[in-house]
Amino acid sequence: MDVRLSPEQQALRDSVAQVVGRLGAKAVGQLDDTERAAKLDAAVTAAGWRELRTASDAGTPWASAVEVAIIAEELGRGLADVAFLGPTLAAELRRLAGTEAATDAETVALDPSLVSIAIATDGESLGDEGAVAIDAAGARAALAVAIDGAEERIARIPLHGDRVEVDLTRPSVRVAGAVEAIEGGSLEPEVLGRWLALGLAITSAELVGTMRGAVDLAVDYAAQRRQFGVAIGSFQAVQHLLADAHVAAEGSRAVSLHAAWAVDALPVSEAMAAAALAKAWCARAARTVCETAIQVHGGIGNTWECLAHVHLRRALLSADVLGGADTNLDRVLAHQGLPHRLEMR
């Protein structure tokens, strides 16, 4: 056991941080700067970070889920308004199903609650409820599951629909209607379990990054904002809020990395349990940490112009994707053979 990042992993982390530091949005107003966002997207494309879970000739991914988690954490920390989660999950789904790699930009479609992948139960259409293509910036289509007789296969749905922008850095698109079958690649239950584990690990890492970014933002503000003639960060009441937030963020790092490691290293049920456990913890912790960041900013924290709510909004989406604290606590209980409220699909 040695859970230190390797020198290569540290270098990857540093290079993601550098790209986001250079091209990410530093203020709410900069989120509208499409030129900057396009440069960030181009830098991510050039680095190949969205391709890490596409299949090599051997069918294995180019990098482990640990590298994916390292990237997700840094993107989350810097509020990077660039697609990563969606394309990575789409690539993983194609790889696990053994289909050809995508020819254009793809993401995944989840059911409207975001708890699981969208399913065309009749094999043809997502029905009236429709689905939500997450992290859809730049994507032309989203992958879903189509039931074909006794088999489950991956299917594709073009992206036309209303945008949902709760997370100001990662738009979703509501989709509905017919899905297009994709050649080959039926999905064994094992495959979807592995995919779910990766999705939970990435979103957990995202949340860790979000927490770290939110704590940094609030600490900087507390050190600089003065009231009663002193920095508000000198008051114990404020210090203790920030200390608790920092502990939550630091306490989340190992469990999130473990979930990522487990995706490729453990049997699928163990990998899923590790991922669900990490996600339950990170989803709960991240909301509190982001709320603390808003509180420490006082009135400013409740204005649109303050970045604190951008962190919270990003945390809300990351938490909801493939289930938040409640759903994943149920997954943990189910794995332990304890009573739970999960409707296992």
Partner: protein, 376 residues
Amino acid sequence: MDFGDSPEEAEFRARLRAWLVDHNPGLPASSTDDDYWAGQAAWHQSLYDGGFFGLSWPADIGGHGLPSVYDVILDEELAAAGAPPRPSLGYLVQGILHHGSDDIRRRFLPGIVNGRDRWCQGFSEPDAGSDLAALRTRADRDGDEFVITGHKVWTSYSDDAEWCLLLARTDHEVPKHKGISAFAVPMRQPGIEQRPLKMINGITKEFGEVIFDGARVPAANMIGRPGEGWPLAMTVVSHEREPGELGFVGRYKKVVKELTEQVRRDPLRHHPGAVRDLGWAIVEAEVLRLHVCRRLSDRLDGIEHGPAGSIDKLLMTQVEQTVGHAAVSIGGSGTGGGDDTWLKVYLYSRAQSVMGGTSQVQRNLVARRILGLPDA
């Protein structure tokens, strides 16, 4: 980055697991029970004799010189077997190891490590709690000896101990942090009065008061130089804040395992809300285990812990208190009569946010030393 066992670690785990089949002493469910403490010395010695204690400490004091990550394996396997946690005295070992002379280390550490000598820690006083440096117990030189006068409190297992790692003031002319020295004081002598205190869960071993009135300690038992007591105390308390040093992951996982088995035996008996409390205890105990994996892996770089121990202490406290809540949610608080095991576990958990430095002090340290926030 690898959370899995190396071949050597896997071999160690298998050997430990096999040993535990025959050597689990079957002590009470928690370490928060006087019956547990009655059997703890024998358990310590058995674990040591089996070759499973002091894993990361140097061989010349009875340790095994292994990387610290072996302690995580030990904690996991003890909990999985339902065995008691490992004795929590790494912080005393670290204090003496870092500050004691070769002579002091040779004389005292093997006995602490092998469990033949019982030790207690004489730090806190009635007027020196969070403000430890305000301590007033004095050690006055008298020939080759020092004479100890003062009043210590919260001294765990003091009535069982042969030795006390004592902080006392030896210089009254210098600022309060500078005038403190540390001693290994023999406890079986006149001039020492024991006054056990009963904790809120009814146990009497954990807390005690010790009155020193003319007790004597050889000058050769001073640990470190005169005035080195404060740095030594900081070494001790920083390790006392680390779950990896204390082995508490094993304690929490053992409780969680027993509660889980209780629910599995009779799932419908428990309110869904109580089961969710248990779910969070499962999650948090695992979060702490993995956090300890990270900390102990970092030590492979030789990183020594400074203020980060306060993060660990706060995380550990949250976990212990979540586990405590799950214990009464699932096991019941005993208010209707019957078994009070889980009540004891719960009530004991309240002390975790006080012992080894209160959570409020830890938050001050995190805010100022790690986040760099200004002093008031």
